[in-house]
């Protein structure tokens, strides 16, 4: 026993030398992993009201984060968090998540609505939400396999004016019925 305790005392004296070494600035993974507590490991979300970020378009994440940061887009905590990052850090995180594999979600969806959405999507949304929503043109977000409750909340914000729709989207959305819009969201949620 005595031996052991002497050992402990010695160890206490020997401070970690590595602690003094220089460290590299936060890497894309270091920055992005901190988000995963809410958005899932590598950005694959299991929480129906929090979007998956995995495989999201880089530009879409950048634009979203910058709008959260400026306050143009409201989000309960995202504004407060986005203010903690420089534009370069935002780009690094956006790039990290855009490189992750698509996260297929398992959700209970209405088959009839999926079919209706499928028939509407190409003509109405397909110019920007390309490849069945697996990709987005420029900063258009990918929506394939995204959580339906999350998308429904976003759509409600668009319709109430809380979130501003891009002009082209507004032109298409304005004449559509709520049922059609919901069918479209069901369709995108179903894409794997």
């Amino acid at each position: 026993m005595t031996m052991k305790w002497r050992g402990w005392v010695l160890a206490t004296g020997a401070l970690a030398i590595s602690a003094l070494a220089q460290a590299a600035p936060p890497s894309p993974a270091m920055l992005s992993n901190a988000c995963a507590g809410c958005h899932g490991t590598n950005g694959g979300s299991y929480g129906p009201t929090m979007p998956s970020l995995a495989n999201q378009s880089k530009e879409a994440i950048e634009v979203a984060m910058k709008k959260f940061k400026s306050g143009e887009r409201s989000g309960s905590i995202m504004g407060r968090l986005a203010k903690g990052y420089s534009d370069a850090e935002i780009t690094a995180m956006a790039e990290f998540f855009s490189k992750q594999k698509l996260h297929p979600t398992t959700q209970t969806l209405d088959k009839a609505k999926i079919a209706k959405g499928a028939s509407l999507q190409e003509a109405n949304c397909g110019r920007c939400h390309i490849e069945d929503g697996k990709e987005g043109k420029d900063d258009t977000p990918a929506m394939a396999s995204q959580w339906l409750p999350y998308m429904q909340m976003q759509m409600a914000d668009y319709l109430s004016g809380k979130r501003k729709m891009p002009e082209k989207m507004k032109e298409k959305v304005d004449p559509m019925s709520k049922e059609d819009l919901d069918a479209l969201l069901h369709f995108y949620a179903s894409v794997k």
Partner: protein
């Protein structure tokens, strides 16, 4: 420095009967390549184990946890308030963590750490390591709460570690007569989860308002004021629980009398209750104290702000509630974030690579009613060797409660994602 065996065992909390008298217990799993041992399978430990394996499959990771499952403290206040009725949704197992990432999970009690030989002693045998990650959560400073022994805990639950204690407190509330008084004591900060006691008071008040309207809850807070989200809790209580929550700041409880169902403020003023929830003062989990990882305050473990390596013992990293993480609060989300930062740097150190500076997050929701929640969020960085909040970022929910409904919804996804991260 000599210490006889009996006091050594007392120090590490092991029973003398459980260990051989001379020499060391048998080696449980001989080490071949690089190995990290993780102590604790809670908010910090699971994530450290998983992210080390995600970063480098050549490193063997052994996670030692005393239980075969883990019950989340986050959301346990909702169970106490009857908003959720089942602890299963707060419970995780380790089988998928093992299967998906090859983490070797050992169910055992860690009774000692030898930082020189790099060996941990467990109830099942010894395990050697190249680096050790310690995330044991908290234990109680019972010497500062006279009379609060194991028997008293069964009469006046703390419910500050989720599980049977949570169930007990809930049952006592359900069994209490209408018109009864609930007493809750809050220790001086720092303690696990700064807003936790106030969320709990809210949830208990929510239950009383609905089911036992003649009852009330007295909160005896050792702190001069509410320690987190203060103005928001005060507004929430005024809007919802006027006459139900009797909040009394600067009332440090130092003694309990389980027989009389009473607590003593500073050993002077006696307060009686029909249900008493004693949240005692806290410190790092006992194993961290025993291993000499705590600092001058004898309570919490100082660490390097980049690697979370202990400044007391080389080769040992401390994360979660047990460590001193500067501006990062003692929360589950902080533990999750710290675990990833630590994992990245443990892998770098083992491979002789450059370490990476910290970037961390905390997000924490507290429920006021079953449908209203408030939040605090922060982004963290390192400045001059200290973890600080990034200036002009973070903060709490809007003061006008315009976001409480949506935050209650987001909080559910928070729980789903963080528990899934820990268990898959």
């Amino acid at each position: 420095m000599t210490l006889d065996r009996r006091s050594f065992l007392k120090l590490v909390g092991a029973s003398a009967a459980g260990l051989p008298l001379i020499g060391r217990a048998a080696e449980l799993m001989p080490k071949s390549g690089k190995r990290v041992v993780v102590i604790g399978g809670g908010y910090g430990g699971t994530i450290a184990a998983k992210y080390i394996r995600m970063a480098d499959k050549s490193i063997e990771v052994v996670m030692i946890e005393r239980n075969d499952h883990f019950v989340s403290c986050p959301f346990s206040n909702l169970y106490i308030g009857g908003v959720i009725t089942d602890l299963n949704t707060l419970t995780i197992k380790y089988d998928k963590l093992a299967a998906n990432h090859g983490v070797k999970v050992v169910q055992a009690e860690v009774t000692a750490i030898d930082p020189v030989a790099k060996v941990v002693t467990t109830s099942k045998g010894t395990i050697t390591y190249d680096r050790l990650v310690v995330s044991p959560g908290i234990d109680f400073r019972l010497d500062e709460m006279k009379g609060y022994d194991a028997a008293a805990m069964e009469k006046m639950p703390h419910a500050w570690k989720a599980g049977p204690q949570t169930v007990l407190l809930r049952k006592q509330l359900v069994d209490m007569k209408d018109g009864g008084t609930v007493v809750m004591t809050v220790p001086l900060a720092p303690y696990r989860c700064p807003p936790g006691p106030y969320e709990r008071a809210s949830m208990i008040a929510h239950y009383l308002k609905k089911n036992k309207p003649k009852s009330k809850i007295v909160v005896l807070d050792g702190n001069p004021d509410i320690t987190s989200k203060g103005p928001l809790f005060k507004k929430g209580w005024k809007d919802n629980y006027e006459g139900i929550i009797d909040y009394r700041p600067a009332k440090k409880v130092t003694e309990v009398d389980a027989k009389a169902m009473a607590v003593m403020v500073e050993g002077l003023e006696e307060v009686k209750g029909d249900v008493i929830n004693v949240i005692p003062p806290q410190r790092a989990g006992q194993i961290a104290v025993a291993a000499g990882l705590v600092g001058d305050d004898k309570n919490w473990c100082p660490v390097n702000a980049t690697t979370f390596e202990s400044t007391k013992q080389a080769g040992i990293h401390v994360i979660g509630d047990a460590c001193v993480a500067g501006a990062m609060p003692k929360s589950g989300y902080s533990a999750n974030s710290e675990a990833k930062i630590c994992a990245t740097n443990v892998v770098a150190l083992l491979n002789g690579k450059e370490t990476t500076e910290l970037s961390g997050i905390n997000t924490c929701y507290s429920y006021i009613t079953d449908k209203d929640a408030i939040s605090v969020a922060g982004v963290y960085t390192v400045k001059e060797g200290k973890i600080i909040a990034v200036p002009n970022s973070g903060g709490v929910s809007p003061a006008d409660f315009s976001a409480t409904k949506i935050e209650a919804i987001y909080a559910e996804s928070w729980l789903k994602n963080i528990l899934t991260e820990m268990s898959t």
